[in-house]
Assembly symmetry: C2
Homo-oligomer: 342 residues x 2
C-alpha cells in the first residue's frame, strides 16, 4: 500500500503561526480528502487549536511534536545551530526521511533556505537554490527567480536559475518550451551590467527557449514565462510591485470615498471592484518555491492568512505530483552531457 | 536688461519629435508668457510646424537650426563623434554658452547623458551624473535615483546620489532635511549586497537625514523623500512599476467591460475612474533630471505626448528658478570641508 501524498507544515512559522496554518490545513483537506497533512510544532498548542476548530482526530491530519520555534528575525546560522528541534527543521527533516513529500513554511526565509539547504542538499549541478514565484501577467502568468536567496550572483547561477524556472513551468503549466527572458535595463547607453551580459552569452548557447532581455515592465506585459535575475534585483522588483499595487488601491479607495456621490458610484461598481481586487490579490500568488534542492520546500509569505497559506499548500501538492526536483535534475544532467559532448 | 528664463528644447528628439515638442512649447507659453523657448532642430520643419499651428512669429519662441538628429537607438559614442550638429547637441551647447538656462530632450537617454557630460562636465565632487525622477507615494512623492545612467556603482557614487537627491528635494519641494533611504532587500538571510552595506556605512557618517534601508515597496509606501540605488536596480524598479500599473489598468478595464451591467456601472463610476487614472498618470511624472552636471538637463520619456513633454519643460523651469546645480555644488563643497576638517 502506498501512502497518500503527504505535506509537512511548519505550523509555528510565520507572523501568525497555528492560527493560520491549522485552519488552512483543514480547508485544504476539505478540498482534497486524499491528502495527508502533518502539523509540525508544539503538540499541546496544535491539539488545542484542532479541538477549538472541532477537528480533533480529523482523518488526514496528524501532529508531529517539535519543541522549538525559529524566530522571524533569527539569523540563519543561529537557527541552524540552536534550533535543531524547531518546527521548521523537523518539517524539513520529514521531507529528508521520506515521511513527507514536501514541506511548507511561513517562517523566516533565510533560516528556511539555510536549513533546507543543509538538510536536503542541492541537486547535482546546482550551486545555489533560488526562490521562485508566479506573478500575474497580461498573457497569463510569469515565473520569476531569484527573489532574494542570492544577492550576489555569477552568470552560471543565472543559467541554473533559468533551467530550474523553465522546468518548473514545463511541469506545472504544461508548456513544453517556456520562453525564458533575462531581466535587464533599457537605458540605451549601457544595456546592462557585466553579470547580465555574461549570462546572456551563456543562455544563448543552451537549447532553452531563451528570448533575450526583458525589462522590468516585461515581467507583467511581455509574452515570457520565466524571468531570471539575481536575488537583489528580483527582490526589489517584487517588493516594488507590491508597493505600486498598494498605492493604486489606496488612490482608488480615496477617490471612491471622496463624497456621497462617489460612495454611491462605488457601491454600484462594488461587484466589479471586488472581482478586480481578487485578480490582483497577492494571496492568490502566495507560495514561493525553493528550487534546486533535493526535495520540495514552499515558502509562504510570513503574513499569509488562511486563504494564502492554503494556496501555498496547494502549490506544494502540485510540485509533488509533477515531480519537479526530479525533472530539474534530469534536465541538468542532459545539459551537462551536451556540454561534455560539445 | 536681464534676459527672460530661457529653455532650449531638442525639438527633433523622442519617438515623435516636433509634433509633440512644438505644441508642448506653445502650451507652456500660454501658461507662462514670461518664458523664452528655443526650438532646436531643422528650421524648415519647425517653421512649418509653427505655421501649421498658427504660431509663426509667436513671441517667446525662436528656432535654432540644427542639421542632424540623434537616432533613438544610436550608440552614445557615435552620437558624440558624428552628430556634432544634432538638435540634442546644439540644445546642450546653448546651456553651456549661457544662451539657455536649461535644456529638455526626449531623445536617446544614453546619447543625452554622454553628450551632456561631455559638453557641460560634472560638478566638482561628482564622479557620475545620475538620473532622478519623482514618483507618487502615499505620503506625497518620492525622488529616486539613479534610474539607469550607472549600472555598476561604487558606494561613493551612491553617497553622491544621496546628496544630489536631497538637494533637489530641498530646493524643489522646500523640505529642509529630506529623509534619504537606501534601497535594499528584505530577505532576512543576507540583508543586501556588499555595495549596499558599504554605502550604508558611508551614509551613516554624513549629516544627511539618512533613515537607513528602504525596501522596494517603501518607494511608494514609506515616509521617505529620496531613495538611492544603483542605476540597474533603479531602472528595473521603475520599469516594474510601469508594468504593474499597466497590468492593473488592463485588469480593471477587462472587469468593467465584462457585460452590459458592468459597462453601465463603469459609466456611473467614470468620473471617479478618470480622477483615479489622472492620479497615476505617468505623464504627470514625466521629466527626469540629469543631476550632477554643470547645468540643467531634463530627460523626457521618448514616447511622451504633449502634456507629458510640457511637464518636463515645467520641471526645467523650476530647477532653473531654484538654482539646483549651484545648490548641489555648494552642498558638496561643504561635505568635502567637513571631511577635511574631521
Amino acid at each position: 500500500m502506498t501512502r497518500p501524498l503527504t505535506i509537512a507544515l511548519d505550523a509555528m512559522g510565520g507572523d501568525i503561526g497555528p492560527d493560520v496554518v491549522v485552519p488552512a490545513a483543514l480547508r485544504m483537506l476539505e478540498r482534497r480528502a486524499d491528502l495527508s497533512l502533518i502539523l509540525v510544532g508544539r503538540e499541546d498548542v496544535l491539539a488545542a487549536k484542532l479541538a477549538a476548530l472541532g477537528a480533533s482526530g480529523r482523518a488526514g491530519i496528524v501532529i508531529r511534536h517539535a519543541t522549538q520555534v525559529v524566530d522571524m528575525d533569527e539569523p540563519p546560522a543561529s537557527a541552524l545551530r540552536n534550533k535543531k528541534d524547531s518546527s521548521m527543521r523537523v518539517a524539513i527533516n520529514l521531507v529528508k526521511s521520506g515521511e513527507a513529500d514536501a514541506c511548507v513554511s511561513a517562517g523566516n526565509t533565510g533560516a528556511l533556505m539555510a536549513t533546507a539547504r543543509f538538510v536536503l542538499k542541492t541537486l547535482p549541478g546546482i550551486d545555489r537554490p533560488a526562490i521562485c514565484t508566479t506573478l500575474p501577467s497580461v498573457h497569463g502568468s510569469t515565473h520569476m527567480l531569484d527573489l532574494g536567496a542570492n544577492s550576489d550572483c555569477r552568470a552560471a547561477h543565472l543559467l541554473q536559475f533559468a533551467v530550474m524556472g523553465a522546468e518548473l513551468v514545463r511541469a506545472v503549466d504544461g508548456i513544453e518550451r517556456p520562453r525564458v527572458g533575462l531581466l535587464n535595463i533599457g537605458s540605451e547607453e549601457i544595456k546592462g551590467n557585466d553579470l547580465v551580459k555574461e549570462a546572456h552569452t551563456l543562455l544563448s548557447k543552451t537549447d532553452l527557449n531563451y528570448i533575450g532581455y526583458v525589462e522590468g515592465d516585461g515581467i507583467y506585459l511581455s509574452p515570457v514565462e520565466v524571468v531570471v535575475c539575481d536575488g537583489f534585483v528580483g527582490n526589489v522588483s517584487l517588493k516594488t510591485s507590491e508597493g505600486v499595487a498598494k498605492l493604486i488601491k489606496h488612490y482608488m479607495s480615496e477617490e471612491f470615498r471622496r463624497n456621497l456621490l462617489t460612495r454611491l458610484a462605488g457601491l454600484i461598481a462594488l461587484p466589479i471592484l471586488r472581482a478586480f481586487s481578487q485578480r490582483i490579490d497577492p494571496r492568490r500568488y502566495n507560495g514561493a518555491s525553493l528550487l534546486g534542492l533535493n526535495g520540495i520546500v514552499i515558502k509562504s509569505h510570513g503574513g499569509a492568512d488562511v486563504l494564502a497559506f492554503e494556496n501555498a499548500i496547494r502549490i506544494a501538492t502540485i510540485e509533488v505530483e509533477k515531480n519537479v526536483p526530479q525533472l530539474i535534475s534530469r534536465r541538468l544532467s542532459s545539459l551537462l552531457e551536451q556540454r561534455l559532448a560539445s
